[in-house]
Subunit: 317 residues, 2 copies
């Protein structure tokens, strides 16, 4: 076996004895997962490409591994689900160092361990150019209870976990060529999928609709509006903007910056929503309204905002 | 939305009304699948890269789409499972034509339809170089009944479905630069995953171990030997070699050629195994023996063969 394949298989085998719903994790044509009684299966798949989703000169191998898995765990969190297993398909350039592969797996498996998710399989191929990772995460939710994007209605309040804008602020600094200290920008270099928050919201029947802020607040809120058939109005002053060092990110980044992996959800008007869930701050930022579109109220003025979809590195490099 | 994304979503939506175990197929953070009572879930993931697994100058878009999905369906077949849903992650070069994307999806969805498998989600990104497809197939098997590679024991008979060597014979012709007529080489250009054969073998409790011949008879039989802790002996004359035009492929290709996607399985010595299952020929080619390794008996001589693992296009182009 070539070295990367050895690492990958060793990584999978290192988790093979862990208890859980993975009946068979490696060594056959398919992995076998338990189908848990009264549960539905959640499946999400995310492509991560070098030059599009990360750059090896900006992101340490561990950071890349962690970020790739974060996307899938966050998708499961956004349904209120519990992640169970992950699958990793990797295409690697022939000249990539063993050290890089080990670092990638270390970041990936470290995050998987944090969220009791087992690497249950994958595929490996040689890439002609750049690292390609496709990550599948499988989770579960009680039958009929997964929190969809489509359940919001006019009058619902809008909430977001944590802070927004920090991940893209770090990215803009990277693009500007300035020195970016990893520890100053945790949402970019060390994102945390809000799995516990999502599970809590499902268990307590609080959220009527939910999505994660992978594309940015404006775009992701527009998705809830479209799928629910309503509009939204948010208060600029209430948005919890990320703080890095002594500065707070500007409104543009808080509204349109992606990859924060916070949870954006709605709850009925009378429902009590705590200020904090599992140590994560929850902030009310607006309300769902009749009609369509996303509006921002800023200094007494109400303006419609175009979903300024954050497009990875597209057209910027 | 860019055109490829529109096509992909239209393709997913076109299947959205089909009945089955897919509760929610698009428009949210995850797809939702039913967890069927008494069943386990089978999961397989396969990377297909341009230049490694296919070439656009050799393979029509429809052929590429079909071949990418065949790998996953065949993995589910190799466990005796029933495919349920597929997920498609595609990274496409910006300059790729809409016609190519449509053709790819046509090949992919046509095969999915044939096997009642629903495209339930995926991801899309821009590739800097070449088409990358990662395909996940999810299937089901009755709890504890999936046919693994590890169940063979000495004395079991070895069987293979269909014919072997045809897919790689076509590939060698393509490499030689000669004209290759698509219709003459169906196992290469129009592979058929043996889903019905696998399901039949599971239902009737016939197979003790099974694998699909994606890497080639010698390599795949060696996998059964390793996982089962036994050896194997096959009779060269009994191997069902592929026929194309007026010629039969040579023994080397029949033994080592990959991507035929036939099923290779073992059954207890006394077990009746039919000559044909669902219209597919089943041929007894040898027996499992004590010890280790794969042996071929050819013209009265018995020789050990190295698993001549078929390595895609590696090192050949």
């Amino acid at each position: 076996l070539p070295l990367p394949e050895k690492s990958l298989i060793a990584g999978i085998r290192s988790q093979a004895r862990r208890r859980g719903a993975v009946v068979l994790g490696i060594g056959d044509d398919c992995a076998i997962l338990k189908a848990l009684a009264g549960q539905e299966m959640l499946v999400t798949t995310d492509l991560c490409l070098e030059g599009v989703h990360f750059r090896r000169e900006w992101h340490a191998a561990e950071v890349v591994g962690r970020r790739c898995l974060t996307r899938g765990l966050s998708d499961v969190a956004a349904m209120g689900g519990k992640p169970m297993a992950a699958f990793l398909s990797l295409a690697l350039p022939a000249k990539l160092s063993q050290r890089w592969v080990d670092g990638f797996l270390s970041g990936f498996l470290g995050l998987a361990d944090e969220f009791d998710t087992r690497l249950a399989g994958g595929d490996l191929a040689e890439s002609r150019q750049g690292v390609v990772a496709d990550v599948v995460v499988i989770g579960t939710a009680p039958k009929g209870k997964a929190i969809r994007r489509s359940g919001a209605r006019a009058g619902d309040r809008i909430y977001v976990s944590g802070e927004v804008g920090g991940a893209t602020a770090a990215l803009e600094l990277l693009f500007s060529g300035r020195r970016v200290r990893t520890k100053d920008w945790p949402r970019h270099f060390h994102p945390i999928p809000r799995v516990g928050v999502g599970e809590w919201l499902l268990k307590h029947g609080v959220a009527t609709a939910m999505i994660d802020t992978s594309d940015g607040l404006s775009t992701d809120l527009a998705h809830i509006c479209e799928e629910s058939g309503v509009g939204a109005e948010i208060d600029a002053e209430m948005i919890p903007r990320a703080v890095a060092g002594r500065s707070t990110v500007d409104l543009r980044l808080a509204l349109h910056g992606g990859e924060d992996y916070e949870l954006l959800f709605t709850a009925r008007g009378g429902k009590r929503v705590p200020d904090e869930i599992g140590g994560v701050r929850i902030t009310e930022i607006g309300r769902m309204v009749k009609g369509a579109g996303v509006y921002v109220v800023d200094g007494g003025r109400r303006r419609r905002i175009r979903a300024g979809g954050w497009q990875h590195f597209k057209g910027r490099s």
